[in-house]
Subunit: 211 residues, 4 copies
DNA sequence: TATGAATGAGTGTTCATTCAT
DNA sequence: AATGAATGAACACTCATTCAT
């Protein structure tokens, strides 16, 4: 009845009818949660936009929360996989960290919806799922921190600032991207990635290089 | 039904009964919105915790949204005022920016509730109020950017990264504080502020100082 | 705050500020009750439109119901007085009834707001006030019926239809005026009055005149 | 809270539990709206009297307004159908109009609740639904007017009063029935119908028949 | 005569979820 | 694998009225 397709714009991306029902739901949920927020999106709107019935949704997902959780898992898996690549690569740590940093910005910008949901709706997850997401997130950050510590041990990075702080600062900036970055603006994701990585790496240079 | 004994979370901080009703509501709202999120806080809980009736709340605030907006205005006013101080101070731009950066971290950490609400619930504001908040926020960022540009003109800061990007990156990290900083942890607000400012300023050093 | 003056049009008839407060309230109430209906008009809107405070209203009227009742009383008094004039006049009963019938249509059309309220909101009155209004209304109808009976006795009107039925039928049509008559239409109140009176009187002619 | 035992008014006519939910709601709504008025009937009372839950009601009707609208549609359909019969019948126009007029009175008296709601609560409908009802109502009146014009053309009825006015006057009286007719009084619906039709038709006789 | 803060019961409506089929 | 009628608790908000001043 109510066809709330309107709203934030975006080319009426009706999900591919050929896609399996769970994927269709996941993709529609990602879009709607990002556009309207998790709590402003009703299950009714969701299933209508996905072209399935409520019953079908509850067949695949235990709850609306569960759908949100599934969205998170998809994002986390993707990010973790990419980072693993940079961590395991060859080359000077400075270059590898720069590449990893630029890449996380780039892929974040390519999946702004996911990020938007991530930081806006994380607190809507039930305690247990929240813990699971946080755990995986922490693992991701630790991998990143490991690279910084590697550079600190090798003398490439400053040691007067804890690696933790640097990681936190950097990801804070990354997460914040979804609140200001506009895909139709003049800055490409790669450009922002380069700038961010430059600033980040420059911040990590040992202070004595300035003397 | 209207249960006037507060109920929930944090050292049962019943707001000072002597405080005027609007202030009481504002302070309770800040706490509850931060604890449970805006959407998860019902008007009923709110007024119960503040020890007033719904009618009283709607006498002073037009809606639940309006209460959220009032919380925002209070934060924005405070932040804007502090920044103005640093911008107008004397001394080398590098030192003034370092001080301003450290201060914004420090005061953010001292008002984590506000920040948490800010970035979690901004999207729940109605369009018009959202625009007003964004406008004021932008003015704040521009003032900060002005300091960076001043340093770029004087040669103190690198010019190969836009001031905009630097501002955005820094505030991204600041906003993110509310998701990880714990007041009862080992890092003081001042310490985090110092680290953040160090990293930030180091990131802004002209690249040639490295050569 | 909310200045609902808009709505049904009508030249923003702000009531004369020089008028005594009770009259101002009465006149504003008549307009708003007719425009939006009794229950859709809040006391807040009412006092705002009248330019007084709630306290002032409750000083003069015991309740919102009471205000409605006062509106009724004003109308009833006016109608009763006019009818008395026609009943007591000289001349053939047919002519006097025709004049009275045309007049009630005319004055109804001149006070459409009152009529609209009368039939739309009568059921919102509390039992006791409702009874009072009905009683006065009945007295009015009986006076009208008296004129018909006078004509029946004198042989001017048919006797095969009860006078009651004729009165009821006629006033039904009169009350209904407020649902279709438009002051800016092509029919004047006097014209409608003449037509209605013609039909009414013709209906009352003794059937044998047709033979 | 959700109290499934009905509560109030009239020989506790609990609606047939076997009836489908929408019909049950419609029938209960008709009764309650007529008894207490639309505004004075809360959705809570309504569903309690119908023995269903609020959720069930909102499953079938979009709003309380929508329920009122559904009541209207049912009445309008019934009336329109009956009138069509008389308009299409054989015989002198005077007799057919008399029969139609008597019948509309009779069926109105048989469905007083519907009529009461019709004229008391029409103004509570939202603009768009109001327009739909008015449109159908107008069509009904025009059909009736068509019969009068037919008689005017054939010389059976007077032509010095517009057919429109006659229709309006007659239906005004019909609508008014719900405010005074009592089913337990001494007048049967058929009797009132006959009287009304007599008066109405007599009023339409050409004036020269009086000479 | 008038104010306006405060009351508190009540309103229509929403919505995630269940379950017989 | 999927339907859709039904649930029931919760929600934001309204409003006539009171009362200390």
């Amino acid at each position: 009845m109510d066809d709330h397709t309107a709203g934030g714009g975006r080319a009426d991306t009706a999900p591919d009818r050929a896609l399996p029902v769970p994927d269709r739901l996941l993709s529609v949920a990602t879009r709607l949660f990002a556009e309207r927020g998790f709590e402003r999106t009703s299950v009714q709107e969701l299933v209508a936009a996905a072209g399935v019935t409520k019953g079908a949704m509850y067949h695949y997902f235990a709850s609306k929360d569960d759908l949100l959780y599934a969205v998170y898992q998809r994002v986390l898996a993707m990010q973790t996989e990419r980072l693993a690549g940079f961590a395991a690569a060859e080359g000077p740590i400075g270059e590898r960290l720069h590449a990893a940093a630029a890449d996380v910005v780039h892929t974040t910008v390519d999946n702004l919806d996911d990020t938007r949901i991530f930081f806006r709706s994380l607190h809507m997850l039930p305690e247990d799922k929240l813990a699971a997401v946080r755990k995986e997130r922490r693992a991701y950050h630790e991998r990143f921190r490991g690279m910084i510590e590697e550079g600190q041990r090798s003398g490439a990075f400053r040691t007067d600032v804890p690696a933790d702080i640097a990681v936190t600062q950097f990801f804070g900036a990354v997460h914040h991207l979804s609140t200001w970055y506009r895909p139709d603006g003049e800055l490409s994701g790669a450009a922002v990635g380069a700038y961010f990585a430059d600033l980040f790496l420059a911040g990590l240079r040992p202070p004595e290089t300035a003397g």
